[in-house]
């Protein structure tokens, strides 16, 4: 078939193709890494002194944890302040953040690190490694802090040298911490890898002078939230178990006597309560149970109506701003896109503002103080 002279065509074709490929290939030498559509290059060289840090967990194993900063003065929000300041990722699953003097300490669960940054510019000062899935940090005094871990042990950090000085041995998942006198009350869920039927949920009481567990109090399953009120009573929120092992409960503990004074039971059906926190005055509790609920510490029963309705959103994180008393609530949406943060008036539940955050906004940290949780 003499339709075309394929010999010359084919050579030409081959030549063109091969040279095109080699040309494009040898040019593109930039490493292939995740990028952002229209990257915001605006890096406001502000100091982080008057605002709210939003800790965005990021997806497990994706290494896309970030910190967003909401400036209280301007009302503007800046995304991924760590990435911009340090030209690298923050790490894998940011659980929480605490402030100590001029430092911010961000706990990275799956990286097993605590990233210490200077609050002036959010530049990394040190990455402390050697944790076992760190959860929360509590400053004990100017020299030391405790870090709870999901897998085992409580890590004791030397705040002067920024190293792990020692560990308080425990095989269990420890979570929230509250200070009472020279003791730390730590919620302990039980062994992480066991189901709730085999876990023993309790509160460890640690003598901070000796770094020793001195006593424990039994609680409902999964005591994840802990707070202290103005009358020095400790409140513990138990989810009842991710697997709905038992009815969720809210417990009031007398920290001096090491006894549970009162237990409020939630209905065993319906939403599971989470994210217990206290206002600065120490007289009102807040938590998420679908919507956001408000409960005076003097109340004899659980509130029946939320102060903020979820309205089709899935509320994920909650905190009270210690300075203004405003509520900050997050919506992680589908966990695979940027989340939202809402600011509400704590008295009437009216929305004041809303902000875009990063992937899975889970917790907040306020420059004005650590809050009462």
């Amino acid at each position: 078939m003499k339709v075309f002279n394929h010999t010359s065509y084919s050579y030409l074709f081959f030549f063109l193709f091969t040279s095109l490929v080699f040309f494009t290939e040898s040019c593109s030498k930039e490493p292939i890494r995740e990028k952002k559509e229209d990257p915001d290059t605006t890096h406001n060289s502000i100091t982080y002194t008057n605002g709210i840090f939003v800790v965005n967990e990021g997806n497990f194993n994706w290494g896309n944890a970030t910190v967003s900063y909401i400036d209280q003065g301007t009302g503007k929000v800046e995304q991924d302040i760590f990435g911009k300041a340090n030209q690298r990722a923050l790490g894998d699953v940011a659980q929480s953040m605490r402030i100590f003097k001029q430092y911010g300490l961000v706990l990275l669960n799956n990286s097993n690190k605590v990233e210490v940054v200077n609050l002036k510019d959010f530049k990394s000062v040190k990455s402390i490694s050697g944790f076992n899935s760190p959860r929360y940090l509590e400053v004990i005094d100017s020299t030391k802090a405790y870090v709870t871990n999901l897998q085992q042990d409580i890590s004791v950090i030397n705040l002067q040298t920024l190293t792990i000085e020692k560990t308080i041995k425990t095989p269990t998942w420890t979570e929230g911490m509250i200070r009472f006198d020279h003791f730390i009350f730590v919620t302990s869920v039980g062994e992480y890898y066991l189901s709730n039927a085999f876990r023993k949920a309790k509160i460890y009481i640690i003598d901070t002078d000796k770094d020793l567990i001195v006593d424990s109090i039994h609680t409902g399953k999964e005591p994840l939230g802990i707070a202290i009120d103005k009358k020095q009573k400790i409140w513990v929120m138990c989810t009842g178990g991710y697997d709905h092992f038992e009815a969720p409960s809210l417990m009031r503990i007398d920290p001096a006597l090491h006894i549970v004074e009162k237990t409020y039971f939630f209905p065993s059906t319906g939403s599971v309560p989470s994210r217990l926190c206290m206002n600065q005055a120490g007289d009102i509790l807040y938590y998420i149970r679908g919507g956001v609920y408000q409960m005076p510490v003097t109340s004899s029963e659980l509130p029946s109506e939320p102060i903020i309705n979820s309205e089709g959103r899935l509320f994920y994180g909650l905190s009270v701003d210690p300075k203004t008393g405003n509520l900050f609530v997050s919506d992680a949406i589908d966990y695979v896109q940027n989340g939202m943060v809402y600011q509400y008036n704590a008295q009437n539940g009216q929305q004041i503002n809303s902000f875009t955050a990063g992937r899975i906004p889970g917790s907040f940290c306020f420059t004005s103080g650590s809050g009462k949780k």
Partner: protein, 623 residues
């Protein structure tokens, strides 16, 4: 040319220069692409993920070198891609997907890629398509021995041995492969800010396959096949997670099947029974999880071609799955019975049609009737030009994990439903002297998936995730193929290209703040292209493979993405013939331009790497 060298697996008797069409139309109106043994031979020590990403438009989501790799077609998910080996579903009934890195190329002779609805003839749930791995006897073989050894970068080694013996009535085929490696390739870790070696990535795996075929009077065909796989591997950490984390996975998989075919002039009958036993053990620092799934698969197929222009193929399948898992509360089982029919009718020489329907009963419940109708039109007598189209409805039943995983599994899940419309054009031409062959194909598809299952945090308990029928996805796209073969000045030249454009978008919002509607599915590239140039003369062969993987979004709001990248791989080899013996020496260079890339976020991939293979084969056939 010595046939031993040309085709070590010796499954097809090839003329000196055989014209091979990539695109084979079997059921009229559907798209099917075959990768034959000639394509597979230089990749004998590779796994299926390498092959599919280099030669097809299937997107392989690779989590690293030699670790988890899952396939997806046409913007659907890996659960919508079924991989079958001689009629056995290789997809895990628990996860509903397959790890291609667990399937060595050495274990089969041919790959059939059935696109879209054409998979309904084999199974339900394959919205994207079916990858069918075929082993076939060669009745002309008398004895064929092959041994190969590969030494590759990062202390990776693979050994292969094949023994095929038999005569015109009985054939036995034994295939063994063993691989081990440290896989500790260097890469730049952005998080640590330095070049490091991949940690905790060593592996050890082997496969043993034994096949027997027995033919009696050209009417009865018996076959028995057993495939055992052992895989012990460490799972490397992602770049940003704790590098000292130790995770391991051990798999032991046994698949066995018996098949009988009775062939008459106007009808034939096939009876198939098989079992698979999949054991998986996952270990980390403080946790061990074991999963064990047994499947028993039975198929009966009858074909009747006694009426002119008509063929009727009724069939009956019965499968039983039985799973014991640390993730389940008790033993979980599933019974699937399906009735199936395929009717092909030729209206004329130019217009041919196929109708396939399948009704499945799963655990006593009738599933939606699924069916597809395809039509093919060849308007010209002397020109190989055809237009085809098909329309289908398909469903995917939830996996055992989606139903029963404790905690979170949702026994109330409905099956996912899919409606597909597809059309294509195929044109090929060969020169009279058979020195040149050209084929072009075009296909376009449009599909809508309803009730797509996604794991989402539970409304009443955001710390617990559960699968729900929440997503709706629209996929549409085009696929282009160009295949050319020449014989010029004693050179055998080949040039195969595939391009795909796909838009798969979320069509249903999950909540009021959800920004994903109209956005592309994550990790579904919009554009993908691959090309293979092959050149052969003086028993020297050269293959150059070029892959382009387009941008993949990493967030459902499409604000983050992994940039597009291109890869080049090259194979250069020489066959040395000595009467019945063929010695092959081959060098493969992967990632020729040493691109520093990640296909999946935070999963490092190696830079330029090499593999040297020495292969010796001895063959005597009856020609």
């Amino acid at each position: 040319m010595n046939a031993v060298c040309q085709n070590i697996k010796d499954t097809l008797k090839l003329p000196e220069f055989e014209i091979k069409s990539n695109y084979i139309i079997d059921n009229h109106g559907f798209k099917r692409v075959d990768l034959d043994s000639i394509t597979l031979v230089p990749h004998i020590t590779a796994d299926l993920s390498t092959l599919l990403s280099e030669y097809s438009t299937i997107f392989v989501k690779s989590y690293g070198n030699g670790t988890l790799a899952t396939p997806s077609f046409r913007g659907t998910t890996s659960q919508h891609t079924q991989v079958q080996w001689n009629g056995i579903n290789l997809n895990s009934p628990m996860l509903g997907q397959i790890d291609l890195s667990q399937v060595p190329v050495a274990q089969f002779e041919k790959i059939e890629i059935l696109y879209g609805a054409s998979g309904i003839a084999l199974t339900s749930g394959a919205f994207g398509g079916v990858i069918n791995l075929v082993t076939i006897p060669n009745w002309n073989n008398r004895i064929n021995l092959m041994m190969a050894q590969t030494i590759a970068s990062f202390d990776n080694y693979t050994s292969n041995a094949n023994i095929a013996v038999g005569n015109g009535n009985i054939q036995s085929h034994t295939k063994i492969n063993y691989s081990s490696g440290l896989n500790d390739f260097p890469y730049f870790n952005d998080y640590l800010g330095e070049s490091v070696c991949q940690k905790n990535a060593k592996f050890k795996q082997y496969d043993i396959t034994q096949e027997f075929y027995w033919k009696l009077k050209d009417k009865h065909l018996f076959s028995a096949r057993v495939w055992y796989r052992y895989d012990d591997r460490n799972l490397p950490p992602t770049t940003d997670s704790d590098q000292d984390k130790i995770e391991k996975q051990k798999d032991k998989i046994l698949r066995a099947l018996l098949e009988y075919k009775y062939i008459e002039r106007k009808y034939n009958l096939m009876i198939h029974t098989s079992m698979s036993d999949q054991y998986m053990k996952y270990t980390n620092q403080n946790q061990v999880a074991e999963h064990h799934v047994y499947s028993w698969i039975n198929r009966v197929r009858f074909t009747y071609t006694g009426i002119r222009n008509l063929s009727i193929k009724p069939g009956l399948d019965f499968n039983h799955d039985w799973a014991v898992s640390d993730g389940y509360d008790g033993i979980k089982t599933r019974n699937t019975a399906s009735f199936f029919g395929e009717i092909a009718y030729d209206f004329s020489k130019k217009i041919k049609s196929t109708l396939v329907f399948r009704e499945e009963i799963i655990d006593g419940k009738f599933m939606p009737l699924i069916s597809t109708v395809g039509i093919e039109y060849k308007p010209f007598n002397k020109i190989n030009f055809s237009i085809s189209s098909n329309l289908a409805r398909n469903f995917r039943f939830p996996t055992l994990n989606e139903l029963y995983w404790d905690p979170g599994g949702n026994p109330e899940l409905k099956p996912e439903l899919d409606y597909i419309l597809e059309g294509g054009v195929n044109f090929n031409i060969k020169s009279k002297n058979r020195q040149f062959f050209l084929e072009t194909t075009f296909s376009g598809y449009y599909s809508w998936i309803y009730d797509m299952i996604v794991w989402v945090p539970m409304e009443d308990n955001s710390s617990l995730w559960s699968p729900e029928n929440v997503n709706e996805v629209m996929t549409r796209g085009i696929e282009l193929g160009l295949n050319m073969q020449w014989k010029i000045l004693g050179f055998d030249l080949g040039f195969k290209n595939n391009y795909t454009l796909n838009h798969s978008t979320y069509e249903k919002s999950g909540s009021i703040n959800d920004q994903k509607v109209g956005k592309q599915l994550i990790y579904a590239p919009v554009n993908a292209f691959n090309s293979v140039v092959s050149l052969e003369k003086w028993n020297v062969f050269l293959r150059y493979n070029f892959i382009f993987v387009g941008k993949r979004y990493t967030s459902t709001d499409n604000l983050f993405y992994m940039p597009a990248y291109t890869l080049s791989n090259i194979i250069l080899g020489k066959n040395i013939n000595l009467r019945y013996i063929c010695l092959t020496l081959q060098v493969e260079i992967k990632n020729l331009f040493d691109l520093d890339y990640q296909s999946i976020r935070n999963r490092p991939m190696p830079g330029v790497n090499y593999a040297f293979t020495m292969k010796i084969s001895f063959g005597k056939g009856n020609r």
